[in-house]
Symmetry: C2
Subunit: 755 residues, 2 copies
Amino acid sequence: MPETTAKPWGETKFVGKPIPRVDGYERVSGTAEYPSDVVLPNMLHAAILRCPHGQAQVKRVDLAKAREMPGVRAVLSDADKEAQIPWYAPPGSPGSTGSPTASRLFDPHCRFEGEEIAAVAAETPQQAWDAVRAIRAEYNVLPSVVDMEEALKPGAPAVQESGNRWGAPRETKRGDVAQGFAEADVVLEETYRTSCEIHTPSEIHGSVVRWDGDHLTVWDTNQGPFGIQAPLAAAMSLPLSKVRVISHYMGGGFGSKLNLGKYTVIAAVLARKTGRPVRLFLTREESFRAVGNRPAHIMKLKAGVKKDGTLTALQLTGLGEVGAYPAGTSVGYQVGDLYRCPNVLISESQAFINAGPNRAFRAPGFPQCSWALEQMMDALAEKIGMDPVEFRIKNYSAVCQMQQNKPYTSAGLRECLTEGARAFNWKDARLRSKGSGPWVRGVGVAAGMWGSQSGPPSTVRVSLYPDGSASLNMGAADLGTGTKTVMALVVAEELGVPLDRIQIENADTGTTEFTRPSGGSKTVFADSPAVRSAALEVKARVLEMAAAQLKLPVTDLAFQEGAIVAQGGTRKLAVRELTQLRAQQVVVGVGVRGPDPVDKVVRPFVAQFAEVEVNIRTGETRVLRLVAAHDSGRVMDLLTYRSQVIGGLTMGIGFALTERRIMDAVTGKMANANCHDYKIPTAKDVPADKTVIPIDLHDTECNTTGTKGIGEPATIPTAAAIANAFYHATGIRITAAPITPANVLTLLEERRKRG
Amino acid sequence: MPETTAKPWGETKFVGKPIPRVDGYERVSGTAEYPSDVVLPNMLHAAILRCPHGQAQVKRVDLAKAREMPGVRAVLSDADKEAQIPWYAPPGSPGSTGSPTASRLFDPHCRFEGEEIAAVAAETPQQAWDAVRAIRAEYNVLPSVVDMEEALKPGAPAVQESGNRWGAPRETKRGDVAQGFAEADVVLEETYRTSCEIHTPSEIHGSVVRWDGDHLTVWDTNQGPFGIQAPLAAAMSLPLSKVRVISHYMGGGFGSKLNLGKYTVIAAVLARKTGRPVRLFLTREESFRAVGNRPAHIMKLKAGVKKDGTLTALQLTGLGEVGAYPAGTSVGYQVGDLYRCPNVLISESQAFINAGPNRAFRAPGFPQCSWALEQMMDALAEKIGMDPVEFRIKNYSAVCQMQQNKPYTSAGLRECLTEGARAFNWKDARLRSKGSGPWVRGVGVAAGMWGSQSGPPSTVRVSLYPDGSASLNMGAADLGTGTKTVMALVVAEELGVPLDRIQIENADTGTTEFTRPSGGSKTVFADSPAVRSAALEVKARVLEMAAAQLKLPVTDLAFQEGAIVAQGGTRKLAVRELTQLRAQQVVVGVGVRGPDPVDKVVRPFVAQFAEVEVNIRTGETRVLRLVAAHDSGRVMDLLTYRSQVIGGLTMGIGFALTERRIMDAVTGKMANANCHDYKIPTAKDVPADKTVIPIDLHDTECNTTGTKGIGEPATIPTAAAIANAFYHATGIRITAAPITPANVLTLLEERRKRG
């Protein structure tokens, strides 16, 4: 048997180079078919009536007029038996076990503005919306609460019958914080606040649904079709074999497309009712309200440090928004593990408010935590007169304190800080003149880490054809992150097949095998080893064929760049010369990624540096320069890697400076549910001066491709680095994100008043 | 390791029962999307200008006016460099090695009426046809020859420059026929003729083609997408990875859809030229002329027999039509192997004529051979005064004489004859009154065999999901024969999953693995063992999971009807209770069928019985009753099996009574290229009284499912049985098929004259 065990790559030919997307042509030319592009013969269009109040009981839904509107083919409400499907948490969805399912698809008790009340399918989208407007719904409007602190006060309007606190506070403890604070030379305490952000992907949420008999096919924009298939099958009471979800292309998710959406189930019920395909895509406004968000957090952080920079204690008390239905986000992780600290106490609570449920959002909880922890680290460093970079290096931990001090497979935080500081010219930049106004300048640093638990195995196929071309069959979606390109690179590297000779089929539960949805920066980490394993199996089988044909021992042969070579490097056979391959037309390798390391922990690390200028007359803040140094293991494709980091930095800028859901406390409605009033950063907000520094410590233990994950780390510390630079520029600690001109002016005014 | 070796099935729960099609709903309701149903956004429609002469040199093709016609987007002729693609035999197609490729996609030398000259792509089909009519082509009309005997005469018009005889006569020899004839008590010699038949599948040939960058996707109606992909890739100079052929549904082929069609390549070139998808489906008239046929044959057969019924010698001299381009059909096989005979001499020639090339047609060459051999057997039996059934049984062979007398894995010809005769009530039926006119009745028998060489291995996947449902992924097309149903039955049998919980993905080179195209009755024979092997692997993995979970030895457990049972039959776990399966969401088995038997030969056998009545005043012949007894190994699905046999009998009726291509000797044109003048049998031509008798000898050596193949055997002896019944009714040996009223009246008149 030839060798199929994966050894670490040495010199690589494809992996690590800056390679353009394999589907670049399709994406740029428009031939790529996104779910929102799908047009089926005879397709109907659907629209949803949503609750216009922060909280209300639906008294009556009169569908009579809507039914008679031109083009209307079906109207659906909670009165229809087939629509009485339990929801929140969706049956079969992650986290549904033990969760309340007190709600339904169209629940008469609407707990947030935008909750679904009825739906229409009609011949055109316009007719569907006209019919939605013709539905007469009567409401018993209830008081609502949209602020988590208000929600926990006695007498607050009840979001959930069981009370507005979701479960008991969760506590994590290490050592004794009281003792730690007693040992400290400096103890600081501060309360930090972050705002609720909306995912706003380019392609809005929606599905196209078709029934063939009792087989359901769904073109859906999501982060992994296998994450939709199972809960959808459960919702429709179908076996998995009768539900096919296809997501060949999709236009971004950032965590908001990991879960089954109500819109998909509504479309499925309407399609079954009408016997016709149904297209149901949300409007931008609907997506602001109903399909998820990064919840706001309030974080009280207390920290103790010795004069020499040794952390003695960290205590975090966190309160987070849940939205109206159970969906939790924890912010404690980095407090417990990023820096060496013997005494830690983390206590987290979450509160229901009358708003759409939160959803995983690029590094759920981590940018919030960084906002607090990294500003606190900055303040501590200042108090003890230590450079913030050195202070962080001083407290570097090479072991995972939350997991019995298991060592990391690699832990490049130190290198991220030193290499990043060097590229940023940190020391000089700190000393440079800040200017005298109205524009003042400052620099800041922040660090972070991310978890890479990998979940269930994925199964991937790689096939080699007699003309030397290949194909790759995998369940993973490509969220625009370059997954297809990265995985194809693994095939290219192992089989020596050029990228443009690799056909890719992906993200279709009907044609590919199970893998987790893309989230948690786990796709490359978990799936690239599976691809490598499949390619190695192909290689092994090709060598067996060659050995038989050449009558040589298989151990004397190697497969290099699409040809079989003997010892000494003599080329023996091209793939096209393999008679057995020509006869059977294909060699198939099936790969499953190997087990995770048992005694070690895999974590990516990051340090980011920002330079900002603040106008102390107008309150404007501009980011001038960013350096991002990441230990995410091996870089698979330098182009997509860089794009991922820049995307993360951009989101971080939004989190720091512009993005905030504004809820009206009186009506419980969202006041800025559109892209005009809710500001996401544009190209003009992103500095031209950006440096991306990959730190590769040649991790051979994390997995067989040496990869850890880059998508989420890239956005974790950005906002905190900007906040620290803001402080450096202005001397003002801005504890509440985002740093809007109004906030800045208020703080400047307060300082002026304080004198 | 649990047992994965396939043992022969014992009692079956699914296999062998009469099971309706798994895709019956889709096929009957119209939701099944056939290639001819595919509508792509922005799709153009194409049409082809074809040569209107039997043979001609194209002097000039003026496309100017066509280009200016409304809606025209591209016009293509041999003047376009990109259309100068070698053809006949298509590059990469079976049999292309060493074949002349003297022709091109649009060759200026047209050798048959209907050969391609130019093509148009336009916004609508009507505009495309209008533009085709606007093309001004000038021809140098050449003499043509449409009769194979004429073609071989000196001075005949040249179809191919190398001469009208295709290669040297091929000879097969066993023993010494001269000695055999010398030893015989009776020697008979007769010349038999069969007519050229057209396949006429319900769905006419055509493709829809789309380019994404340099990736080509083709929805094509064919008998297996992998048979189209490779030659298409070669024609377009693309790697296999860039050519995807999809054939989820198709509307019949009968051998005419095994090969790449010019229409597919024309559509691909037009689509590349216009940057838009192109649909090109032929008209019924075009399909009559250009996409294949069962060639006419002239067979001189000489046979010697002893008085006791022992065959002593068989000598066949065959001449077959090729059409205008190389494409051979041999008729000798059954002469050499169906009956025990020590002395055999087969000599076959083939001649080019000015007509479309022949193509494999349901049992290529075999019905022609049966027409001769089985009428000869009937005549010999009569001469020596032996019952035709007993005469055939007397000459039964249990070994394959053409392959060094290797035994057959099973050889049920004797059982087919005896069981068929019993069901037909043969002896009584022979003695019954024939009537006194104008309608006279008679009965006949004919036997046959078929070859099942299996070719390269196929790779199949079976997946089991945690809810107990499953999926089947296979490359094979379902030609309407029930392939999907039969293969799903194997999964159901092994895994205990009901048929409606098995999802099937098939016949897509982009999502399934290689298998041969469906032809030669090899699909069930070759692919069902692969499916079984994949299902057994799933079973083995499920047992490993169960053993680990239950902490029991795997050898103590069995997987029965979707559950794990311990020794003694105690149910231990349902599939849904397997924690490892719930974690990884799927178990995948990859199956490849095992090797063919080495020392034995696999052959299906058949005997069919017909009762006819002939009107001696009008010449009409009606089939009253048919009995078909088949040894095709195990019956997988009694319903599809029966349908296959009835379909074969129906085609046999057409071959015997109605179907004949009529070529005009003066112009070289086909005179009946439409379904009005070319008669295929309808429901009214098929007798209500049909009996299908499966003979199952429980063959455990042919493969792991015990199957041999039914599609082609079903049509092999039908026409011969009808001819023998015609003779029994009328006393007239009708040597030339089809038995039309005109032929019958001529023969009756001749007999009357002879007195």
